[in-house]
Subunit: 326 residues, 2 copies
DNA sequence: CTGTTAGCGCTTTCAT
DNA sequence: ATGAAAGCGCTAACAG
């Protein structure tokens, strides 16, 4: 029924080993023999069984990808980057959503272990000791993607978030803003978001700086909260932690009778497609989302192939894209 | 180094078979023995090797998911639905992007075959003979997700697209629209989009009906084309094939000096988050994106577990969500 | 350059 | 209720 390497060997009148060799290019095979094997493969419609291969070689060419939620625009873009590079290096990805729940995040490492993945790309809001322990126990090479390891034990790919926050602040200052708000979901939820906020807060020159916590990152719930804040505080500049919160900020300002950008300027993080499709188009601190994924995967391949690695914690560049909201 | 089932057996003073039994619940094991095994597993930190399991049992508990592009909002949501249900039934998913290229779509079936996936969830714009042949050759159970098989050979999950198109038309008629445009990427690209367009075209009562083809589905490229059309035709109602095209239509209308919804009403397909975040908020034909994925995966589990299946081509319900753009 | 032979770690008869 | 043993389909020494 299923055609095996043994069938091919018989058909080509060679040994399994030789078939394996032409399949994997593990050793030189005489051209004539190679042709016979290839012919047999063709004739029988043979496909190597990756599972058997994985068992024998202890390499599955499969990468585990653990993310909070693929349906988030940012994450989906990252996953696309991961998958593209994985394909390029002939790896497959197993995708799992953690919903940012610690217990699930840890569980999933175990699951990936059972699946014998060759490596792991990991996204989480806050890396904890439990994570590192899990990685260690599973003995799987891990690359943290858009996730910081304060102690730099685990290879990672990030931008300089504090600096990005500062850049946003500097930018608003240059636009004449004095009273600035940082709109974020909730302090303590995401290390990166906090770092951005702190970078922003560190800017000197603001007359006032407040944080607006929206609880969830959802547009609908954020909008009224931001609006309330805007009605109780005179604010002329906003930095939002995500595009969605940026848009909520713009609309909240408009609802409060303010003009964007005249009365209040808004700059948001991420630069998902949303930013360019709304009016006014949003000025953003653009994050290299696709590259987060692509570079993480590339770094992981280096780890797996024992290629030399110059830098185990890669810092990607961010940049400000000026549009109409400022 | 790596703990195997054999080590556990030795530690618990039983045979591998018994360990396997308690692991899989394949047969009754005396409570006392079971405890010894569980203890040994705990003590040794044993994790079953899913690859070895897969080879021995010929079941990998892995599902291949082939989509055009995860980074598209619609698709990402579908994938989330698939993954959730997969997890629920203890399956894993291998994700692949095809970029809607036929050759790649076919290739990927072969790749999934090699990976010995137990089943396949497949999304494509236009199912062709090549696809069906590939499925057949690989002998993998397939469920088509948001993808129609005109000949109903392959199980699938869809909405009634023609009817959805008609509903959109009917809705615009009820709003007093007479001169309607269908904004889509390009005829012939997507069967479902075409079907919607045809359903719409079949509505009687319009004084005029035109199609606006935008080439790509991207906001940026669509906007000027739609605007040009709107300047050369008197249009008072638009049905857009996606939210992104819907938003492009709204902005194009505004740029052409028209008010939405007063002068021209816009209704779009999909209902991604975009629709609720823009102003005016978009009226949509809501698609059950998450459910496309969830139901497809559920159907696939039925196929895999030999559960009775009432209906091999499931039709999900769509509905109109009325907002400000009409 | 090619063949032989052990496994890889588990499931699954078949006995007992 | 438990054990023994034969594979699953392939890779990777080791010979020759």
């Amino acid at each position: 029924m299923t055609v095996t390497i043994y069938d091919v060997a018989r058909e080509a009148k060679v040994s399994m080993a030789t078939v394996s060799r032409v399949l994997n290019g593990t050793a030189v095979v005489k051209d004539e023999t190679k042709r016979r094997v290839l012919d047999a493969i063709e004739r029988l419609g043979y496909r190597p069984n990756a599972v058997a291969r994985g068992l024998a070689s202890k390499k599955t060419r499969t990468i585990g990808v653990i993310v909070p939620d693929v349906s988030a625009a940012f994450v989906a873009e990252v996953v696309r980057g991961i998958e593209d590079i994985a394909t390029m290096y002939d790896y497959h990805i197993i995708l799992k959503n953690s919903d940012a729940q610690l217990s699930r995040e840890i569980d999933l490492v175990g699951t990936m272990w059972e699946k014998q993945v060759d490596g792991l790309i990991y996204m989480t809001n806050r890396l904890q000791k439990e994570h590192v322990d899990a990685f260690e126990q599973a003995q799987i090479p891990v690359v943290l993607c858009a996730t910081e390891d304060p102690e730099r034990r685990i290879p990672s790919v990030n931008i300089d978030s504090a600096r990005a926050g500062r850049d946003a602040g500097q930018y608003l200052l240059s636009k004449g803003c004095k009273r600035v708000a940082f709109v974020t979901t909730e302090e303590g939820l995401s290390v990166l978001a906090d770092r951005r906020g702190n970078g922003l807060a560190a800017c000197t020159g603001f007359e006032q700086f407040i944080r607006i916590e929206t609880g969830s990152g959802r547009y609908e719930t954020a909008l009224p909260k931001i609006r309330a804040c805007l009605e109780n505080n005179v604010i002329d500049g906003i930095v939002a932690a995500t595009d969605e919160l940026g848009l909520a900020s713009i609309h909240a300002a408009q609802d409060a009778g303010l003009d964007v950008p005249r009365d209040v300027k808004v700059i948001a993080f991420d630069n998902t497609r949303l930013a360019t499709m709304v009016r006014p188009e949003m000025t953003v601190i653009a994050q290299p989302m696709y590259d987060f994924g692509a570079v993480s995967m590339r770094l992981l391949t280096k780890l797996l192939l024992d290629e030399p690695v110059e830098n185990y914690s890669v810092t990607l560049l961010h940049n400000i894209v000026e549009r109409q909201s400022t």
